[in-house]
């Protein structure tokens, strides 16, 4: 219906759009709500002239348009909230797995130090064997050097043990 205040029949157009909006609001269809919201916003752009009645219609269209989008947002927030319950459980699993992996890495580091100590132990043993062979000889200077080397390696080994 048109009149002087509403020459384009905006009142009827908005009435039809609000019926669509009501339908969209009752359905769980975000795309439909978005589509009707866009039509309502377009209504504000298209409606003329600038009189009190049309501006009031624009305000109704604007609030209905926003209301539909707000419903969508609230639904998505509820969806995130629901999946957060499962996500929180999985977070604990990742934290536990990270702690286990860190323990494994720590264990390997200790093994690495132990391996280094083992290498030094072999060195000490070899020096002792060589010294035993040379003990039968007369090269006291060489035996003295070997004893110093053995002492130095033992020191290094003890230093590494301190890190384990």
């Amino acid at each position: 219906m048109t009149d002087n205040e509403d020459p384009q029949g905006c009142t009827d157009k908005l009435r039809a759009l609000l019926t669509e909006a009501q339908d969209a609001a009752s359905k769980d269809d975000a795309a439909l709500r978005r589509s009707v919201s866009q039509k309502l916003t377009q209504f504000i752009i298209d409606s003329t002239p600038n009189n009190t009645r049309i501006l009031a219609l624009d305000n109704i269209a604007g609030e209905a348009s926003k209301g539909l989008l707000r419903m969508n947002i609230d639904d998505r927030l509820a969806s995130i909230s629901a999946s957060n319950v499962d996500l929180a459980k999985l977070t604990k699993q990742f934290a536990a797995a990270a702690a286990n992996a860190a323990d494994v890495a720590g264990g390997l580091r200790l093994e690495r130090l132990q391996s280094a100590i083992d290498v030094l132990n072999e060195g000490v043993e070899s020096l002792r064997q060589l010294k035993d062979v040379l003990d039968n000889g007369t090269d006291t200077e060489l035996i003295d050097s070997l004893m110093k080397a053995e002492a130095a390696i033992v020191n290094a080994r003890e230093g590494l043990r301190g890190q384990t």
Binding site: S65, L69, L77, N84, A88, A97, A101, G123
Partner: protein
């Protein structure tokens, strides 16, 4: 006696070489897990920025309650991706420790030999030679590789179902976030239209009046009316320009946010895929191809910068 000892040494050397050779055949170097760790860190950053963008955008849409709810809700995916990042770091550290171990053992053996030589001791050749030091390093590394590989395989295979689950959930949440940003952008647009509805409507009225005049014969009266329309159009031009700028800025912001969300969702899938690849690589003792993951990290990094600036 000496000949017999030399023979035993040679035999021992041969034995060790064979053992090393068999270990090398059994287990190659562990796959590089640093890319997986970097992808986890990047994904965590993307989730943090997404949370900030969501909170800001809901505030911009004048949805204070929803913005506060979002701030609380997003702490969960934030904490989850932090745990995922820490997990990736811990996995990478297992590989790193096993890689460092051989070099460390070799260094210790060489340092011992160098020191002993410097004070004049004559070490047994098997201990003093650089070859022996390298051998010691290789043996230690291979043993640690194997242990690390077994630990890694167990950790990765235990976590693969969890990784798949978390990838599905995060993808869904990021999809929800994308929808929220789209609707928030729609709300902001409607708000902009409402703010300028009088200027928009007036502009349309003037355009219609101008078109009507175009259909009439040119006269002093129509020219005067056209001049009048032009003056009126000029008076609302700054407001309409402002309206166009706000509308464009809103569209641009949404475009950047949408690109970020697409890249973040892609990064989640690639992170889960990288985990699967790492598991297969550890099982097969083969390498992983980091190209796809690296490309994704670079793209995500660029989008994060853009989203932070918008």
């Amino acid at each position: 006696m000496i000949a017999l000892r030399n023979k035993h040494r040679a035999s021992a050397r041969f034995g060790v070489s064979c053992a090393v050779a068999s270990l090398l055949t059994a287990c190659g170097a562990l796959p590089d897990a640093s890319g997986f760790a970097a992808a986890g860190a990047q994904l965590h950053s993307a989730v943090i920025v997404t949370g900030d963008v969501l909170v800001d955008e809901l505030q911009r849409a004048e949805l204070g309650d929803e913005s506060r709810d979002m701030e609380k809700l997003w702490k969960v995916p934030d904490a989850c991706t932090l745990a995922m990042k820490n997990y990736g770091d811990a996995i990478a550290s297992i590989v790193q420790v096993s890689r460092d171990s051989g070099a460390a053992a070799e260094q210790v053996a060489q340092a011992g030999a160098t020191f002993a030589n410097s004070i004049g001791a004559v070490l047994p050749p098997v201990l003093a030679s650089a070859e022996a030091a390298r051998l010691a390093g290789t043996v230690v590394q291979q043993i640690q590789n194997e242990r690390a590989a077994r630990s890694l395989e167990a950790a990765l295979s235990d976590m693969q179902p969890t990784v798949d689950l978390v990838a599905g959930l995060l993808d869904k949440q990021l999809h929800d976030a994308d929808d929220i940003l789209l609707d928030a952008s729609g709300l902001i647009y409607t708000g902009i239209v409402q703010n300028y509805q009088q200027e928009i409507s007036y502009s349309k009225t003037l355009t219609d009046a101008r078109r009507t005049l175009y259909t009439r014969a040119i006269s002093t009266d129509t020219t005067r009316q056209l001049d009048d329309i032009s003056r009126r159009e000029q008076s609302i031009a700054p407001s309409l320009k402002q309206y166009a700028q706000e509308k464009t800025a809103n569209e641009q912001r949404w475009k950047t946010q949408h690109e970020l969300l697409i890249a973040a969702r892609q990064a989640v899938q690639e992170w889960a895929g990288a985990h699967r690849q790492l598991l297969i690589a550890v099982q097969n003792r083969s390498a992983v191809d980091p190209r796809a993951l690296n490309e994704s990290i670079v793209e995500l990094r660029a989008l994060l910068r853009k989203a932070r600036m918008s």
